[in-house]
Amino acid sequence: MKQHICTHINGEATEFLCATEDTLLQVLRDNLRLTGTKEGCATGDCGACSVVLDNRLVCSCLVLAVEAQHSRIETVEGLADGDTLHPLQQAFLDHAALQCGICTPGFLVAAKALLDRNPSPSESEVRFWVAGNLCRCTGYDKIVRAILAAADTMRNTNSRTTDAGAQP
């Protein structure tokens, strides 16, 4: 029997029916057609399927869809604010941090989860945080640089807004 699941995906109330054995990845891609989240392995080893589930970075291929009941899910489709790219997306473009681009959604989601926790990570913190995301094209150099650059941009924007806010 199918299960009825209520969630918020990228801020929008979303309901779906799924089988108990369906993974969140399958439901996102096949039922909801949110195909920005990719399947590279379905065993939790590549990070292409990364999403944020109730503020936790997870491999959606390792989460059962029924576990998402009443949860908030963020996927790559929710990163940009309308036509305005998230600083990470912009940095990936500016730094040529993608070649084929299949790993990119996973890296973006993972990197955002990092910067939400740690706004000024070191290079090695970035490297270890995204060690669960495989990229076979880039050798990671430009990806790591893009994440560090985005962190910079976000810190500067934040400090500007804080400064502005502090003015009488």
Binding site: A19, E21, R29, R33, L34, T35, G36, T37, K38, E39, G40, C41, A42, T43, G44, D45, C46, A48, T75, V76, E77, L79, A80, L85, Q89, F92, L93, D94, H95, A96, L98, Q99, C100, G101, I102, C103, T104, P105, L108, E123, S124, V126, R127, F128, V130, A131, G132, N133, L134, C135, R136, C137, T138, G139, Y140, D141, K142, I143, V144, R145
Partner: protein, 757 residues
């Protein structure tokens, strides 16, 4: 083109790629992202045995399962007569390809496909697989290349008689062919040598490791018109191979390329597409097929593993006088390893008077090998560059100086037969030597390795269509999947010729019905060869624009010049100009839409050379190797979009580092793969690597309008040698077996220590 290289405004810049937004927002449609209403799900039954005869194959129970719509086996594939197996004797062999996509009477590796099923959903299809009754007679198998060459080894193909040996052997064996390449007289060369060094090397098969598994969708109309959507390195390749395997006219198939999530050579053939077509034809519904990661490991790729025995002879001053090698490459279950290319490339960077290489192509019970970046070169180069390092150590000579002494220069006749014209190998060595990395101090347990690499680069058949839109923007349509930023480089080259901003150029990749044929994306050919088609088409478009302007001004074409995206002339003593937009708007008055289509067979791809420097630290207690610093130097001709060129160098280096340190297939005693997943087949992750520094040397290729050389293959060649040389220097022990996993390194350290005692 009126601009000179010094004032090119597009070529050599780093704009955001045209397909970038789609790829950072999740909008880009990769192969598994494509859906059609009413599509069935396909699944493949695969052999659990490494080598077995299929005694009985009964699909009736599976077919009876509710929701199963179609099943195909090898019986449904047309038989290809032996004399039609290839085109003019050139690979691929379509009989083998047919037997690889569905086994006929024998399975030749664990994972070999036996049947394909289409059902209403994935679960039903998977369930149906378990209902197929197969009776096997399990046969002895062989995994190792040297064992497969033994006279008493289990033979994979009863009809396989070694080619390239006279007289022809009387018995079948696993040695598909012998290849010999002779340059000068090695015997005489070694007789002159003051020093002779010999070593044996082994490398393991490695998977291309693209993150996107193979997937496709097929739909067949009742009149037989067939559509395929898939990601591959060439939509025309998919069309041609499917037509050949299924005996269909090309005009009946349209292949639409979807975004490709990595290929590296591994997507230059077909696995699922013909099965999906057959299932769609039989069921009357679209069929979607998608490999799991385990299937990717068990049934696609890899690059050949190898056993190599090599010898070099040199004078006391370091001059190489002779080189000799025996290369045995694993082809996998069917003949066709790139051993010939290994023979050709190993010593290509050097000017050596006497070289003899012998290659053996050997079949084993593993998946059929597929191309992987610079096919055949990395393992042969690993052997050659290791020997050079041993020579440098013996002579107490700087390893870059040793290479400079022997480097191929313009005019050098390479051992594989051609004379090099304009090449930049020496420049890469000089740049590497001058790089601060090369003189940085090293600490205890650290070592620095250097190695070089060569790749031919290729040209080939290519098509491009440029059309001027009504508003003056330009479409650049080509036929080659964008695997790492080629849309950007095509747009940049068109923009440069037309002298317009690249933002006004929109590149697109067409399906097989919308543009003329192009060879596939591979061999480092696209920026060079397709770029040539784009450049010529842009020049033709420009000539037409000048004609149209002349018509509007009622003046001679010769009076019209092109500058900054506008036609200029002096009419009645007045300077006049027409922008692209106004020429486009008035096209109706001057003869209709303005477009240019160029199809050509590009010649003159400039060879590529690279030199890499690698620093490692080896933990003497565990054998664990950490790459501390890495620099890749390469002659790229001209970097059209330097950021993506750097990316090619960095990505290739990372793959080569994985090949050198981690990656290997593990098999149990029954020939069953133990690590068909990313957890145990460990590719480098971000925390395994340092930043990868790049130096782009630009020695222009005179045969290309912008001086372009291919860049994609070279960077995977030097890392194997560079890492091995670094580890060998750090541990004072030669490492000749890849991968250099901790236990292997530890053993070599201990062996060397015992020898020294």
């Amino acid at each position: 083109m009126s601009r000179t290289p010094e004032n090119w405004r597009s070529v050599g810049t780093r704009p955001v790629r045209p397909d970038g937004i789609d790829k950072v927002t999740g909008r880009a449609v990769f192969s598994a992202d494509f859906n059609l209403p009413d599509a069935l799900h396909g699944a493949v039954l695969r052999s659990p045995f490494a080598h077995a005869r299929i005694l009985r194959l009964d699909t009736s129970r599976a077919m009876a399962l509710e929701g199963v719509k179609a099943i195909v086996t090898a019986r449904d594939l047309p038989l290809i007569p032996a004399d039609q197996a290839t085109t003019d004797g050139q690979p691929p062999d379509f009989r083998d390809m047919s037997a690889n996509i569905l086994a006929r009477d024998k399975v030749l590796y664990e994972g070999h496909a036996i049947a394909a099923i289409a059902a209403v959903d994935a679960q039903t299809a998977e369930h149906a697989l378990t209902l197929v009754d197969v009776e096997y007679e399990v046969l002895p198998h062989v995994i190792d290349v040297q064992q497969a060459m033994e006279p008493d080894a289990p033979v994979l193909h009863d009809s396989l008689v070694t080619q390239g040996i006279t007289p022809a052997p009387s018995h079948p064996s696993n040695i598909a062919s012998r290849h010999e390449q002779v340059h000068g007289d090695v015997e005489r060369g070694f007789a002159q040598a003051d020093i002779i060094l010999t070593e044996e090397f082994t490398t393991q098969p490695v998977h291309q490791g693209y993150i996107e598994p193979h997937a496709c969708m097929a739909r067949v109309a009742s009149d037989g018109q067939t559509d395929v959507w898939c990601s591959s390195q060439g939509q025309f390749m998919v069309r041609a191979y499917c037509a050949r395997l299924l005996d269909m006219p090309l005009s009946q198939i349209r292949v639409t390329p979807l975004e490709i999530g990595g290929g590296f050579g591994g997507k230059t053939t077909v696995y699922l597409e013909p099965l999906a077509i057959l299932l769609a034809r039989r069921s009357g519904r679209p069929v979607k097929m998608q490999m799991s990661r385990a299937e990717v490991f068990r049934a696609t790729g890899p690059a050949s593993g190898s056993y190599i025995s090599m010898k070099i002879g040199a004078l006391k001053d370091g001059t190489l006088v002779a080189a000799q090698g025996i290369l045995c490459y694993q082809a996998g279950a069917f003949p066709g390893s790139p051993v010939r290319l290994g023979c050709m490339t190993a010593f290509a960077p050097y000017d050596i008077a006497n070289v003899k290489m012998i290659g053996y192509d050997v079949v084993v019970n593993r998946p059929k090998s597929a191309a992987y970046r610079a096919p055949g070169a990395p393992m042969a180069s690993f052997a050659a560059e290791s020997l050079l390092d041993m020579l440098a150590l013996r002579l107490d000579m700087d390893p870059i100086d040793l290479r400079i002494r022997n480097a191929a220069r313009p005019g050098t006749r390479a051992a594989y037969g051609i004379s090099f014209k304009e090449i930049g190998y020496l420049e890469t060595l000089q740049a590497a030597k001058a790089h601060p990395h090369y003189s940085a101090p090293l600490a205890r347990n650290q070592g620095r390795g250097v190695a070089s690499g060569f790749w031919f680069n290729i040209g080939g058949q290519s098509s491009a269509a440029l059309t001027l839109n009504e508003d003056g923007t330009v479409m650049v349509t080509t036929a080659n999947p964008d695997i790492g930023g080629s849309r950007a480089s095509m747009a940049l080259m068109a923009a440069e010729v037309l002298e317009i901003d690249v933002s006004r150029v929109r590149p697109e990749i067409a399906d097989t019905s919308s543009i003329a044929y192009s060879d596939l994306t591979g061999g480092s050919r696209v920026t060079f060869a397709v770029g040539m088609a784009v450049t010529q088409a842009a020049s033709e478009l420009l000539a037409k624009l000048r004609e149209r302007a002349a018509m509007l001004w009622d003046t001679a074409v010769d009076e019209v010049t092109w500058r900054d995206g506008c036609a200029h002339a002096c009419v009645d003593g007045k300077d006049v100009q027409l922008s692209l937009a106004s020429l486009a708007a008035q096209a109706g008055k001057t003869g209709g839409p303005i477009a240019a289509h160029v199809s050509l067979n590009a010649q003159g791809a400039g060879p590529g050379f690279g030199t890499h420097i690698c620093d490692v630290e080896v933990d003497p207690d565990t054998g664990r190797v950490t790459v501390l610093r890495y620099t890749a130097v390469q002659d790229v001709g001209k970097a059209v979009h330097p950021a993506y060129v750097e990316g090619q160098l960095q990505g290739g280096a990372a793959q080569g580092i994985g090949w050198a340190l981690n990656e290997a297939y593990l098999y149990d005693d029954n020939g069953v793969q133990l690590n068909p997943g990313f957890l145990d087949y460990r590719m480098p992750v971000a925390s395994d690597l340092p930043m990868i520094d790049t130096v782009l040397v630009e020695v222009p290729n005179p045969r290309h309008p912008f001086g372009v050389r291919g860049v994609g293959e070279v960077p995977i060649i030097p890392p194997l040698g560079a890492v091995a040389n670094a580890v060998s220097r750090a541990t004072n022990a030669r490492h000749a077996d890849l991968p250099m996993s901790p236990p292997v390194v530890l053993k070599a350290i201990q062996r060397a220590a015992r020898k020294r005692r």
